[in-house]
């Protein structure tokens, strides 16, 4: 054993040098994202297959990854998503990255968990347009899937709770640690430049952190879109009111996580802001009653760019072949 070398590996040089000046994580409203802990690798692997499985859709063309594309920040980055027969979805697709940290799923939080969320789009006639009976018929017709479900769940039934549990287990691994901001939070003062730091200070002092806080920099509360002045939009979504039935929840949406936000313009549930600059400016006006000047907007945007973390490294799954008994996709009827 070489005790000194060992300590050197645990505490890198920059930490030793800047320890006194390092910020305290506890005192900041944002915390670093922990790395994914994979508890059940076989279930995660099955979930990954299902996440990329186009045969869960009626057309055989749309998978979870179609609208939550892991190549592009976990979203399709369209104004609204494209569903079966090219139907226009009602809302901008939220990112699947770090979604396990959300207080609930969907913009209106109508699903309490990732598992509950996962069953929705498969059977939504405007999204994947299949139904749970057909989706299970497809999976049960493919021997390699039946064997894999058996390995993971201990039986060959292949049920929808198993399907969604596996998808959720995979999605829980889709976290993005090690952003430059997290490196700074952990004490590496050089991880941010002066403008980015200034942006973070403005982000805090202006009150953005009131809603965008915690490890996901949001995702943990519902807030009214248009708190100080009403939000102008032609999108009919009314947010949380559709779930609670309360008029007071009209235009209340889940605060989106700002992690990796630089990867996924356009912004807001209706994609009303084409750029980060526009989004920051509008948020200042409508939520905080504040007109950020050009430098403040630029500083905050610079800070937001530091929230882009290490993207999950996904080896594309090889999906098992259909058998002669697999129901055929029907994309054109």
């Amino acid at each position: 054993m070489q005790p000194l070398k060992y300590i050197g590996m645990m505490f890198p040089l920059w930490l030793a040098i800047s320890a006194n000046a390092a910020p305290s994580i506890q005192s900041e409203p944002i915390q670093p994202i922990p790395k994914a802990v994979i508890k059940n690798p076989a279930m995660v692997e099955l979930g990954k297959k299902l996440f990329f499985e186009p045969r869960l859709s009626k057309s055989g063309f749309i998978s979870c990854n179609s609208c939550h594309n892991l190549s592009t920040g976990g979203s399709d980055n369209l104004s609204s998503s494209i569903g079966d027969h090219w139907q226009q979805g009602p809302i901008r697709s939220p990112s699947v990255l770090n979604s396990s940290m959300n207080v609930a799923q969907f913009w209106d939080g109508r699903a309490k968990s990732l598992q509950e969320q996962a069953s929705g789009p498969i059977a939504n006639p405007k999204e994947m347009a299949s139904n749970h009976v057909l989706a299970l018929d497809v999976l049960r017709s493919i021997p390699a899937y039946v064997n894999e479900f058996d390995k993971v769940f201990g039986n060959k039934n292949v049920s929808m709770p198993q399907v969604t549990k596996a998808i959720a287990a995979f999605e829980e691994t889709l976290v993005t640690p090690d952003s430059r901001f997290d490196q700074w939070l952990k004490g590496n003062k050089k991880a941010l430049n002066a403008q980015e730091l200034r942006g973070y200070q403005t982000f805090k002092t202006a009150g953005c952190v009131a809603c965008h806080n915690g490890p996901a920099v949001g995702g943990n509360s519902f807030q009214k879109m248009g708190l100080v002045a009403p939000y102008q939009t032609s999108n009919p979504a009314q947010g949380r009111a559709g779930v609670t039935g309360k008029d007071a929840d009209r235009m209340s949406f889940k605060v989106p996580s700002l992690r990796n936000v630089a990867l996924r313009a356009p912004y807001f549930h209706d994609a009303g802001a084409p750029t980060l600059e526009a989004a920051v400016s509008t948020m200042g006006k409508l939520q905080l009653g504040r007109d950020f000047n050009q430098q403040e907007v630029g500083d905050i945007v610079a800070f937001l760019h530091t929230l882009t973390g290490k993207q999950p490294q996904i080896v594309l799954p090889i999906l098992p072949a259909s058998s002669n008994n697999t129901p055929h996709p029907t994309p054109f009827n």
Copy 2:
């Protein structure tokens, strides 16, 4: 050095035992697929990004991988592909796997090379529905792409020949070596069972190998679909005649590779055969004038299953974010 051990590693035990009985590769009409040799890793990596890049389509939704899905044998396995605005494509999508071994690209061979092929779908109004000017505008608006093109091609122009050259370089790596049949070809007698071997013998003696030969087990010639009796189909594709203008080339199509064929029902350019059994039976009748009996069909299908090779292991690329200047996708107009 331990010479004996070294030799043992080079020549595994089974080869030493069965050397006398091993088939000679030279005497077989099918040869093993060589592993991919990556000459220019940076170009291949750029090509992979472009292959998965939905922003090369007008909608921002369709990438090369949409119809040539590397999770499902390099194809979408639909009767005909889905294009922009859910348009029904005219033909079944061919697999991109081992496509570098094809004599030409597309079912009618209208593209001489993978590079020539790659430019087609981007600008085809029934496929990705963009155009080359717009596609280049998108790429040139993204600084990380401009830098990557510069690194690979030595200039920051970003041109369509560069785009298609990179995509082709990636596609050339998409080979599937080490199938059980290739293991057998290389001398491992135990790699095939009795039924599979019988199927291969029938495949040879019946004359299937006349067209399905070489490393790709096809892909290297054009043949008339319906040689002995005409092929009945409602699909209007006339094959090679559309390229050569010769009436004699009517219904002449590129013979598809049978590598990984078990992964990608349905079969034929019009997806007229839902199963491998149906495809083998129809081919026997229409191309060879032969009614395979049930055992012969089963044997040949068993042999075809041994042509599934090691699928390319693809780490999903992380695509660079759009900039404020990136043209917005327009999926709904």
